[in-house]
Assembly symmetry: D2
Homo-oligomer: 132 residues x 4
């Protein structure tokens, strides 16, 4: 499954170098992930702080190829895939409207129990979302 999210770069995303602050490439991709969960009718508030299972990001990486400016329209293409019972990853491509890739991002998520902090199975809502 591939999910697409459109976004216009906001002033808060940028820094005094005039372009998007590097860590905000990741933040924008995470917002696309949240939009994708929401589109699958997963309750974000519950997932973030109400569920017995947390889904912390244990790894992230990004390649930043083009500067992004305030007002730029971008599309984030998001490809999640399950790694094993308790882990999944998401590959993102951040594209300008002419199709040029501005950045690539990867995040790895692990399901853990909120109380015992031990690995556990991904919530079935997330498993369903993963298969699209």
């Amino acid at each position: 499954m591939e999910y697409r999210w459109s976004y216009q770069i906001q002033l808060r995303d940028t820094d005094a170098a005039g372009v998007v602050y590097f860590a905000n490439f990741l933040t924008i991709c995470h917002a696309a992930y949240e939009a994708s969960l929401s589109a699958a009718e997963i309750d974000l508030r519950w997932l973030i702080s109400g569920s017995e299972v947390a889904l912390p990001i244990v790894h992230a990486s990004g390649d930043f190829k083009q500067p992004l400016y305030c007002g730029d329209l971008v599309q984030v293409f998001l490809s999640p895939s399950q790694i094993n019972e308790s882990e999944f990853q998401i590959d993102y491509r951040l594209c300008l409207m002419d199709g040029k890739v501005a950045g690539r991002v990867l995040t790895k998520h692990v399901a853990i129990g909120v109380i015992d902090r031990q690995r556990t199975a991904l919530p079935y809502q997330v498993q369903t979302w993963l298969v699209g």
Copy 2:
């Protein structure tokens, strides 16, 4: 003129108290202002860093009435008004989908020359936007 912008609260807007971080009420309102300028075909990149006139915010205030949670859908209603040749203000209402007001924000903007930092007339694009 009144402009309306829809937004879904993102994880980055929240803090460990579980709700939107107070200063992000202002940030979300500013994003609505940017969307409104964009809808009026004003080039944000030019306005922020390419124009000879800067529009710094010299005053802001906010009343925060309801907590906002990750995933909440909000509408920002934005009412700009010109104060004088070089100043305008924007009143914002941040509403939940049931119409309940979650917050009110006010920002005051002054046009200054980028070089001399002296007050100057608002750019005509902004004057046009102000009259809707």
Copy 3:
């Protein structure tokens, strides 16, 4: 009581206009408030998410007088005062090293029960901090 906190403006505080993003004047002042609580040996993690009483900010305002640049050294002067049994406010002055005031900020905080969201007395640790 007046508390002073030194801070160097970070890139993340700025935006593409080249200076500190307006809402981050408030964020920087809040960081000074956190440092002040910490200096009084109040456990921030407990106060934010472990206590039975929450202290949401219900009002904030700021006057932004001077642009702040990445790398600028500032001092935040913080003057808290109790309003009534359940409320206090903090006045902040953000000063450059030459003493010039770059901004003034005000925040109002109300103690509420985490469960019932009703006003309650300020935690005694906070009352003690308020009298310095």
Copy 4:
């Protein structure tokens, strides 16, 4: 050379999951890099927006091993190394006060001309900083 920077986790670094937002591990490491440049008497404002050479981050990655809470004291250990004439990287370890590693981060920086966006030599101030 290894540089060490102490930092107390601020509320703005956290999200509604109760801990530091993943992208802010990178942001905190970048703040340590800025502090290191400042300690070497490099003018951050000049480096960010006044120099003829920009130093965009073209790659970043992070492994997040321990949750960080508001108020946590951390130390960031920063090890920069030059890759070639126009590139350097920084390895960061984010440690709790008991020495436990909470996260590891890597950033890669490339020197480019501000006008032509072509690779160029690292500014000599940065080269000097790299050799400690």
